[in-house]
């Protein structure tokens, strides 16, 4: 018999309940901890196509002219965002390490002053961590007056260490109208 079973039943029950309740609270907290954990995990492994949310430093590893990567651009507006949103070109070809500059066009057609936020995603997801943005309109919110239009900059390079089997990658932007949540 272990030591615990010598104690009166009430005391053991109390101890058991306390431990289990602590487990319950710990698991509740763990549910929320999964949110940052998920981000960290995706950040390390680059699994879900999320790109960095801050600017990368300029490439210092030189240019690999032996490889050519096709980068496609996709733009879409989320439901409820009455904005025009399109890249100036649909795709470009780059060498790994080579800096490129692309402009995206946006026009606010919602009939009111608004703020938009573009959210990038790279496919295949594993390429996301090799896609380096020096400058991107997605780093900031984009306020536009009604009917105002703007050309928004994107400056990037593809990391020289991009895995051999990836020759084509797609950068997709979704534009959200965040006027209401940005105000409040």
């Amino acid at each position: 018999m272990d030591k615990d079973s010598v104690k009166p039943v009430d005391e053991r029950v109390k101890k058991g309940v306390t431990k289990l309740l602590l487990t319950v609270f710990a698991m509740f907290a763990f549910g929320f901890a999964l949110v940052p954990l998920y981000d960290v995990f995706c950040d390390i492994t680059g699994l879900n196509g999320k790109t960095a949310t801050t600017a990368a430093t300029v490439n210092a590893d030189g240019i690999d002219t032996s490889r050519t990567i096709k980068v496609q651009f996709i733009s879409r507006t989320a439901q409820g965002a009455a904005w025009q949103f399109a890249p100036e070109v649909n795709s470009i070809e780059v060498h790994p390490g080579e800096m490129k500059f692309v402009k995206f066009y946006a026009k606010n057609e919602s009939g009111r002053d608004g703020i938009a936020q573009a959210v990038p995603s790279v496919s295949p997801g594993l390429a996301a961590s090799y896609f380096q943005k020096i400058e991107c309109f997605c780093f900031n919110q984009q306020p536009l007056k009604s009917t105002e239009e703007v050309w928004m900059p994107l400056q990037f390079y593809v990391d020289i260490d991009l895995p051999e089997d990836i020759n084509e990658l797609t950068l997709s932007y979704t534009l959200y109208d965040i006027t209401d949540s940005a105000k409040s």
Binding site: R12, V13, V24, F25, A26, G31, L34, L47, Q117
Partner: protein, 530 residues
């Protein structure tokens, strides 16, 4: 033994037998048998409610085209049907069985926390009242599927999200309290001499299930809370516009969701492992391997969740990991099925209703397991994902698995509960009607799914018409068959042949040492375990 228990009761001041009368008896009761009955009746009412919704779904799908209900209401029906069957029918039925049988099986006078027990039952009706009331509101009930994927439940919610979230919170609190009660009861109130490896397997499976509940129900509570704040308070857990990620919803949800499916099947394993030895008149084959298999399944359930998400664009390494882990579950499950068959092997079997349901469980649950194995294969899942094949799979494991085991358990212990034998003739009628109709209902769904019919749709392409008609007929027949069960139970409560203390001659366990019907208080002094 029996007389000793009864005489002692009259000397015990804490347990004198003055029950309150009328509704107060049930509202204030802290008796595990009363609460067990409440749970069982509640789950049966919910089973009929969720079943009625299934009838609406099958009526709409009887023919292609929209006949009876609007697509939005159809979605509400599939959603609430799922929620009610999972949280209202299967889980409370298991908790009811645990309440009734656990203390008697381990020789305890009651659950360790009787008042908590009362509370964990009585908040349940409120949870379901909240959930069901939203169906009658202008904006309608939850229509985003029982899995409430964001953004369906957040951005595109019809206004029912708050009702849904609070209902799930209350159900979760109820389950967690019930689980805590089960764990501390098993750990502390076992009769002297009953070591862990001497516990009936029924007790083991509920022990492990309770741990699963304690581990994952809080995660569900967290998930619905995030959905709530995303919908109403402007947070962006699952909203890409604010830096969140809708795919993350699926990860967090299925981290709860996969252990949840084992919460609904492990107790079934325990019930069947109790009944098959009784009617094969042989001890359970491989008791300790059953315990270890149950524990391994419980452990594996935590590392397979993303097999629900093979089509979300996971990288190859992730898909392989989750595929292999999922297929690994077939090993302990195979051990169990082998043990059940080996228990029956060369036994002197008789086929009373509980045994019939148990044998049907072994066969049909295995079919559900095989389709699960098919779904576990990533490339194959790309074809099956979100089709009726999935619907067929989880109804085979939940209806002919969990539900059949509950029926088996109910028939097995009805004499102990009521003191009367149930009508074997009606029981067998219930079994055969259920068996035939349930297969007519769910088996063709495999083919519908393989042929490409998507799930959760109110209308379908013409080539699926014939099979859907048969499925619907099977559905109506299965629904009606369950009324036979209601008749059996009511008849059994009202009267019938007197049941002896141990009506099944192969049955083993402490619950058969007390008279039938089980007295209000049993084992006020713990029995001796040899």
């Amino acid at each position: 033994m029996t007389t000793a228990t009864e005489t002692l009761e009259h000397h015990d001041d804490d347990h004198h037998d003055h029950k309150m009368t009328g509704i107060k008896r049930w509202l204030y009761t802290t008796n595990h048998k009363d609460i067990g009955s409440l749970y069982l009746w509640f789950s049966f009412i919910m089973f009929l409610t969720g079943g009625a919704m299934a009838m609406v779904i099958r009526a709409e799908l009887f023919q292609p085209g929209l006949q009876i209900i609007e697509p939005d209401f159809f979605n509400q029906m599939t959603t609430v049907h799922g929620l009610i069957m999972v949280f209202g029918a299967i889980m409370p039925a298991f908790t009811g069985l645990a309440n009734w049988m656990l203390p008697m099986m381990i020789g305890a006078p009651d659950m360790a926390l009787p008042r908590l027990n009362n509370w964990s039952f009585w908040i349940l009706p409120f949870a379901f009242a909240i959930l069901l009331s939203s169906l009658f509101m202008e904006s309608g009930g939850p229509n985003f599927g029982w899995t409430f994927y964001a953004p369906l439940s957040t951005t595109y919610s019809n206004g029912s999200t708050a009702f849904f979230v609070f209902a799930v919170h209350i159900m979760g609190i109820s389950s967690i309290m019930g689980a805590i009660n089960i764990v501390v009861t098993i750990m502390n109130l076992r009769a002297p001499g009953m070591t862990y490896m001497k516990m009936p397997l029924f007790v083991w499976t509920f022990f492990i299930t309770a741990y699963l509940l304690i581990a994952v129900m809080p995660v569900l509570a967290g998930t619905v809370t995030m959905v709530l704040t995303d919908t109403y308070f402007g947070t962006s857990f699952f909203n890409a516009a604010g830096g969140g990620d809708p795919v993350m919803f699926q990860h967090i949800f299925w981290f709860f969701g996969h252990p949840e499916v084992y919460i609904m099947i492990l107790p079934a394993f325990g019930i069947v492992s109790t009944i098959i030895p009784a009617f094969a008149r042989k001890p359970l084959f491989g008791y300790s391997s059953m315990v270890y298999a149950t524990s391994s399944i419980a452990f594996l359930s935590f590392i397979v969740w993303a097999h629900h998400m093979f089509t979300t664009g996971m990288p190859l390494a992730g898909e392989l990991f989750f595929m292999y882990c999922t297929m690994l579950i077939a090993v302990p499950t195979g051990v169990k099925v082998f043990n059940w068959v080996a228990t029956m092997w060369q036994g002197s079997m008789t086929f009373e209703t509980p045994m019939l349901f148990s044998i049907a469980f072994v066969i049909l649950f295995t079919i559900g397991g095989f389709s699960g194995l098919m779904l576990a294969m990533t490339p194959v899942d790309f074809q099956y994902h979100d089709t009726y094949f999935v619907v067929a799979h989880f109804h085979y494991v939940l209806v002919t698995g969990s539900l059949f085991s509950i029926f088996a358990g109910a028939y097995y212990w009805l004499p102990k509960w009521t003191g009367h034998m149930y009508s074997e003739k009606l029981g067998k009628l219930h079994f055969w009607c259920s068996l035939i109709s349930v297969n007519l209902l769910f088996f063709p769904m495999h083919f519908l799914g393989l042929a490409g019919m998507p799930r959760r749709i109110p209308d379908y392409a013409l080539q699926f018409a014939d099979f859907n008609k048969w499925v619907s007929i099977g559905g109506f027949a299965f629904g009606l068959s369950q009324l036979i069960f209601l008749v059996v139970v009511i008849k059994c409560i009202k009267g019938g042949e007197k049941a002896p203390a141990k009506p099944w001659d192969g049955a083993e366990g402490l619950e058969w040492e007390v008279p039938s019907p089980a007295p209000y208080h049993t084992f006020s002094t713990p029995p001796e375990i040899k």
